[in-house]
């Protein structure tokens, strides 16, 4: 690794560290994570004891929409608050590029989501204690959730860079993230396909294929990790991070 890249990553890690400390200083992040963990674990356990199957399919199917709400709560303040309190001018008076700042804040928000996901590991641990779950499907399911979290963090960061108000950033990111996931739902897909008179147009199917992470996540849940899916999440994540940087640079011109 070149010295220049090491210094650049070092600055991003400094930003990430500062953000993580700030997140735990305010009550929002810890409360959001703890309440989410309680809710998600309780909801899974109810279903698990009713169905009596040692598998996590229902968990992996429901969590994406839940993450579409949780992640914006963790990302909403990252740039919107800096703009509102004017500390953004202080931030960019430091020898730090926009990309380094965006990456640092992205890493901090992803760190918080990883913390939440680690908290849910009590579920597979319990399943392993009670029976013999498919370990490969669980690992790939978690990898899928991690990929989705990265995309949602980047999306949340973009809206936080765009908005001056945290609530606006939260609502915009939550609605967009949920919509992207719901585009992959078969009912939404067929409803959107039905809107077009041209049977070959199939707008719902196209939206689901091009934009929705739902189909890709379904592959992960079945234990299939394809390069195409990894590329899909990586490209969306990079795009939203770039867009966040672009918005921040444009605002200063």
């Amino acid at each position: 690794m070149s010295a220049r890249l090491r210094l650049s990553l070092g600055r991003s890690f400094l930003i990430a560290r500062r953000e993580l400390i700030a997140a735990f200083d305010s009550a929002i992040a810890p409360v959001a994570i703890i309440v989410s963990l309680l809710f998600v674990t309780t909801a899974f356990m109810n279903g698990f004891f009713l169905a009596g199957r040692v598998e996590m399919a229902s968990f992996f199917a429901r969590l994406p929409l839940f993450l579409a709400l949780l992640v914006p709560a963790l990302t909403m303040r990252l740039f919107a608050e800096e703009k509102k309190t004017r500390t953004i001018e202080l931030l960019f008076s430091l020898p730090l590029s926009t990309g380094e700042a965006v990456l640092g804040k992205f890493l901090a928000s992803l760190g918080l989501v990883v913390l939440f996901l680690m908290g849910t590991l009590t579920i597979p641990a319990l399943l392993a204690w009670l029976g013999d779950p498919d370990g490969g499907a669980i690992v790939s399911g978690y990898l899928g959730l991690l990929c989705l979290s990265a995309e949602l963090c980047a999306l949340g960061l973009f809206f936080s860079a765009l908005a001056r108000d945290q609530i606006v950033a939260f609502v915009a990111a939550a609605v967009t993230g949920s919509a992207l996931i719901l585009f992959g739902d078969p009912r939404v897909k067929s409803a959107l396909d039905g809107l077009s008179d041209n049977p070959h147009a199939a707008p719902g199917t196209r939206l689901a294929e091009w934009l929705s992470p739902a189909g890709r996540l379904f592959e992960f849940d079945r234990g299939v990790v394809s390069l195409g899916s990894l590329f899909f999440f990586a490209s969306f994540t990079v795009f939203f991070l770039w867009a966040a940087g672009f918005v921040l640079d444009r605002e200063r011109e």
Binding site: I21, R86, E89, F92
Partner: protein, 250 residues
Amino acid sequence: MIDVQQVHKSYGGVPAVRGVSFRVKPGEIVGFLGPNGAGKSTILKMISTWHAPTAGRVTVSGFDTQIDALEVRRHIGYLAEHNALWETMSVRAFLDFVGKMHALRGAKLAERRAWVIERCELASVLAKRISACSKGFRQRIGVAAALIHDPEVLVLDEPTHGLDPMQVVAFRDFIREIATAPGHEKAVLFSSHILSEVAAISDRVLVIQDGLLVLDESTKDLLARAAKEGVTLESLVLGKVVAAKEEVAS
């Protein structure tokens, strides 16, 4: 060294700064005077790389603010107009964070931190959160952060805002001392809308009105001219400002 050449800045087509040029040499303290909304902060923001000029060129220590923004930020200590700080950080954590962003580590960071803590008299609030500090302390924390990396250029927007009279006097001496320290001379540009303050501390006075630089003269010459014409410094500067306003209006 700060070099501002024919700089223009417009917001949505409305001109805020119009063809301003000046230089600040190492060891020189220049006071930037003008009423609210005259364009002082806009120029300081362009020097700090926060805003891009619509036209013209700004260089700091030889680096163009548009081409080498990060290099400019390494050579500049900047105190923004509202001095917004990260409220939840402790003073010590804040200074460490800013120092580390300037690539200070280990003994060098400890040395610089100790220096700014001593010079800005922050020892009593070191463990406190910034949000718990008084306005005067907050201003000194902002100045300490601007100085921690020992920059060649200091750009301070309303640095004495919130300081009590004793602190203002101490601050003037402090700025004079750090600007002229042998071997460590700094180019200092600071803004104010109090003429007496600018005259007391600066070697040169710049006056801006409606985005135009209407006066660029050494403090000594200005005082001599005021004495010769038998007018106060205030009325001399005010005359310039009124003439500029009339010129803009016509």
